[in-house]
Amino acid sequence: MDLNKVIKECLEGKEGAWEMLVNTYSKRIFNMAYQFGGSYQEAEDLTQDIFLKLYHSLPKYDFEKNFTAWLLTLAKNHLIDTYRKTKWEKANRDDFNEHFLALEAAENPEAGLIRKANRKMVWESLNHLSSEIRMAIILRDIQDKSYEEIAEILSLPIGTVKSRVNRGRLELAKILQEKKEGSDEL
């Protein structure tokens, strides 16, 4: 798919072009919002806001740039700004089992109980990270993006991205360790 062509058609108001953009990016943006905030309902609202922003900002898009990175930067800025303004994610994240375990059962039937428990603990611990570090962790470890891509999306030097990712992983590992020790003591 020629993205620049789709964007041009979108700007001309050609039928089907906007739908194509939505089909290509909605899942990625929705998952990013869900992983960042942890609330399914909130992620739906945020995804809608981000696409609305995209629609308004599309005429300003520079065709020389990488569209995916540009859109993810827009999404990242919106998520972090919303976090700063409303602190909505301070509330507990959705129960991990609610949206993930059904999918996991279908994909990894052999996954052990310990692995599931670890995922649940890590999912619940994500909110303990600062918004910037959490975003770096989501992009690197959950969405499996390269450091170069993350540096472009976050508009940061690669060294800073690596240090944020390392700090985030370490914080999560320590939280996981504490939780495990806590549950062992019980």
Binding site: W18, V22, F30, N31, E104, Q177
Partner: protein, 169 residues
């Protein structure tokens, strides 16, 4: 000191990004330090957990809302298109200035004092106008007197058939 260094290197070690010397340093330390060995194990599990989150599907209702964004925008822009005419800009500017001044007046906590001072100014203006009218009236009276005097003296002149003796007496 060594434990802090291990924290820095742990994830690079997990991703197999270390030089042989650094790798050797990490492995030696992990074999000797139980605390770091536990952290290593937790780090490994954290990495596994993070990479294992499945992607969640987007609901149909959200998809329809996303598809409908351009339609909403079109409706909005069609209904408000006439407002975007450049010829209306001076009117909007004047309206903005007027509304700003009005809002300063209406939402001012000292509105009572403003009202009172406006009333005082109006009364002052009114009394000044009254004074001007009074002055103007006195001027017209004086002009009338002056006119009568001038006409009276002209009538007494001989050339206009006035009685000189009568004037003398």
């Amino acid at each position: 000191m060594n434990c802090e260094r291990i924290e820095e290197l742990l994830f690079s070690y997990l991703e197999d990004e270390l030089s042989p010397a650094e790798k050797n340093f990490v492995e030696t330390h992990l074999a000797a330090c139980q605390e770091c060995a536990l952290l290593y194990s937790a780090s490994k599990e954290t990495r596994e957990a993070l990479s294992g989150f499945p992607e969640v599907e987007v609901g149909e209702s959200l998809m329809s809302k996303l598809y409908a964004i351009p339609e909403k925008k079109k409706k909005f822009s069609f209904s408000l298109d006439f407002l975007l005419k450049p010829s209306l800009q001076p009117i909007f500017a004047a309206l903005t200035v007027f509304l700003t001044i009005m809002s300063f007046y209406l939402f001012n906590p000292d509105k009572k004092y403003i009202d009172r001072s406006i009333n005082q100014k109006i009364h002052l203006g009114y009394s000044q106008v009254e004074k001007l009218y009074a002055k103007a009236e006195s001027w017209t009276d004086r002009l009338d007197d002056y006119k009568d005097n001038v006409l009276g003296s002209l009538k007494n002149w001989k050339i206009f058939g006035g009685d000189k003796d009568e004037a003398k007496s």
